[in-house]
């Protein structure tokens, strides 16, 4: 029900935005639908876009559920990709079967380490996560810029990027003629794993308790700092994994433009998914479709990519407004005095 409503709402929003931009509404909507849902390449592109978004948003969700407000997803994503690229450089002649797992694990480790820097500064030195993770984002961008011009630059040293990953080492292409790769399964597994972890494991419960009220966790002698550290490490690991998946699934290279802001966009995606892993997966699909659709739109309309952020913004605001309205209707029932 919720989805039928929000889908109708979304179409309305798109139509209004297109009209405001002076586009042919029918044609534009068709282009968006085609880009997002065409069976030959729409769906695959939607899934491709949703993959990194889903992983980073899961990362945000885990951290926020534990009360650790990680907004450094972008930095962790970049460092994850960087770690994967470093692993690739180090692997050299190793057997192709080894590459994917090493790269992905490398990404997890890189992202987790980057997040842990912030957690350390917070738990040991009281530096707020909100500020340290923002600062680490900026630093990660420069770190990537440096490495692709320095230690990890491709062999000719002419271009600011790493050497291309050999095709045999890339994650397998799933649908011919699209970018869809096996990384989508990684995201799927992550959704289920995070869901089970948060909802059904002892550690997940501890994490939620720490997030909901750290003082309760303290009175019950639960390991508060340790749980927060773990939550941030998982969060960073997921963001790093996203970077590694995008690196070894889509680009095969690391360069300045590697980041598509997935780390920042993860926050609204996670929040709109209510920080519930399964809904975060759905929310990521939604946004994946939105990206795939609007990308297609910009190809064939003269308006260019300026319409994309406007559509996204309107969609997010409409979700917020709609959600709040529905909550208001529900609230009186919910709270007996």
């Amino acid at each position: 029900m919720r989805f039928v409503l929000s889908s109708i709402g979304m179409v309305l929003i798109l139509a209004l935005t297109f009209a405001a931009f002076g586009l042919d509404v029918g044609k534009s909507l068709a282009l968006v639908a085609q880009g997002a849902f065409d069976p030959a390449y729409g769906w695959p592109t939607t899934l491709t876009r949703a993959t990194p978004l889903c992983l980073t948003a899961l990362g945000v969700a885990v951290a926020w559920r534990a009360g650790t407000y990680n907004i450094g997803g972008e930095g962790q994503y970049l460092v994850g990709a960087l770690a994967a690229a470093a692993c690739a450089a180090g692997l050299g002649g190793a057997s192709p079967a080894l590459w994917a797992p090493v790269l992905l694990l490398g990404g997890v480790a890189g992202g987790a380490a980057w997040a842990s820097l912030a957690t350390w500064a917070w738990l040991k030195r009281g530096v707020q996560l909100v500020v340290s993770t923002i600062l680490l984002n900026f630093i990660a961008v420069e770190l990537v810029a440096f490495t692709v011009r320095g230690p990890l630059q491709e062999p000719t040293h002419a271009r600011p990027m790493t050497a291309a990953l050999p095709n045999s080492a890339m994650l397998l292409q799933l649908v011919r003629g699209t970018s869809l790769h096996t990384g989508v399964f990684v995201a799927l597994v992550a959704v289920v794993a995070v869901w089970v972890f948060v909802a059904y494991t002892r550690q997940g419960l501890v994490l939620r308790i720490v997030g909901a009220n750290p003082r309760l966790a303290r009175t019950e002698r639960l390991p508060v700092s340790k749980s927060q550290f773990l939550a941030m490490a998982i969060s960073g690991g997921l963001c790093g994994l996203a970077g590694a998946v995008e690196f070894s699934g889509v680009t095969g290279r690391l360069s300045d433009g590697f980041s598509q802001n997935w780390g920042f966009l993860a926050i609204p995606v996670a929040l709109l998914g209510g920080l519930e892993p399964l809904w975060v997966g759905v929310s990521a699909l939604y946004f994946g479709a939105l990206f795939a659709g609007t990308e297609n739109l910009t190809r064939y309309t003269p308006i260019g990519n300026t319409v994309v952020p406007v559509v996204q913004a309107t969609a997010v605001l409409a979700f917020l407004g709609l959600g709040k309205l529905m909550q208001r209707i529900r609230r009186p029932v919910e709270e007996p005095a």
Binding site: P160, R176, G177, N296, R299
Partner: protein, 314 residues
């Protein structure tokens, strides 16, 4: 579909219906520079050849999807405006033998993949000569936006030009790492002028106004780049190193339309009329006839290929 057998690989056939041309740019086409000039070329193809055109700002992860989408829709030419489109084109082109993929620079080719590069270095070399002759402080500056090979290559040419007439000249180089941050461009330029530079060239795209503004504030002269920026309201642009994209783009599109395009790496420079170095007539008094003569001689040498301007390959 002409499927050739034998040694000759498959090549795109002539276009019988409406020509369809797509442009991929690494930045916004509104950047008054690198991406804008390609966009203007695309618009020229649209109006002169009555072609259907599309364009998209596509980076890293989006590049292949974008190429495939255009190819699937039957686009005949997909032009990626940067070296970074070369390798993805090689991959994607295998799936779409009837679409020609061309990138701005890049070293790999296939039957339907090529690279096409403007030798802006030639214009920068001439600007360098002018700067080397005019500088009183013996210091000149280059302000770059993003630190990318194409920009570095032009800067090398500028430095070489300056040193060719003034071997002791110091060339200051600064990158803001951003083609849109006008304030940073201005800050970098001010810093360069503070360090003694009295002539400044840029590769700052949309942020170029910051360079010109800084020059105006400090009373030094600047060079325009990519587009003819001599009429910039700041009034400090002494000359511009210009890419004349339109004829080159139309020529390329025509060859694709005729089915005569072969995957190759070509360079369009002053010889082909694709690069110009033009003085600002309003500031004519700043340049002595002597210097103009030197520039004319150098231009001729470049056109005659007697003078080879340094150019990085990437």
């Amino acid at each position: 579909m002409a499927d050739n057998k034998g040694a000759e690989p498959a090549k795109p056939a002539p276009v019988k219906t409406t020509l369809k041309v797509a442009l991929l740019t690494p930045g916004p086409v509104s950047d008054s520079g690198w991406s804008a000039l390609a966009y203007d070329g695309l618009k020229a193809i649209e109006s002169d050849l009555k072609a259907e055109v599309g364009n998209q700002e596509a980076k890293d992860a989006q590049i292949k999807d974008s190429m495939r989408s255009y190819a699937q829709k039957g686009y005949n030419l997909v032009f990626g405006h940067g070296f970074e489109y070369n390798e993805p084109a090689i991959d994607v082109a295998k799936e779409f033998p009837n679409t020609v993929f061309v990138s701005s620079s890049g070293g790999k080719t296939a039957a339907n993949v090529g690279a096409f590069r403007f030798a802006l270095e030639e214009g920068f070399y001439l600007a360098g000569i002018t700067a080397g002759e005019l500088s009183k402080t013996h210091k000149v500056a280059m302000i770059g936006g993003p630190d990318v090979p194409s920009i570095r290559s032009t800067f090398k040419a500028f430095a070489a030009g300056a040193k060719s007439v003034n071997p002791d000249i110091e060339v200051i180089e600064k990158f803001t790492m951003d083609g849109q941050d006008v304030a940073k461009a201005k800050q970098a330029t001010l810093a360069a002028i503070d360090q003694g530079a009295d002539l400044v060239i840029h590769q700052a795209n949309a942020a170029a106004q910051g360079v010109f503004d800084a020059c105006k504030e400090k009373g030094v002269l600047a060079f325009g780049a990519n587009l003819n920026q001599n009429d910039n309201p700041s009034g400090v642009v002494l000359a511009s190193a210009v890419i004349v994209a339109k004829p080159a783009f139309i020529e390329l599109a025509k060859r694709v339309q005729a089915g005569t395009y072969r995957g190759e790496i070509t360079t369009a420079g002053m010889t082909e009329g694709a690069i110009m170095f033009t003085f600002n007539p309003k500031l004519a008094d700043k340049v002595s006839p002597d210097i103009r003569k030197k520039i004319d001689i150098a231009s001729l040498s470049i056109i005659n290929k007697a003078l080879k301007v340094p150019m990085d390959s990437f």
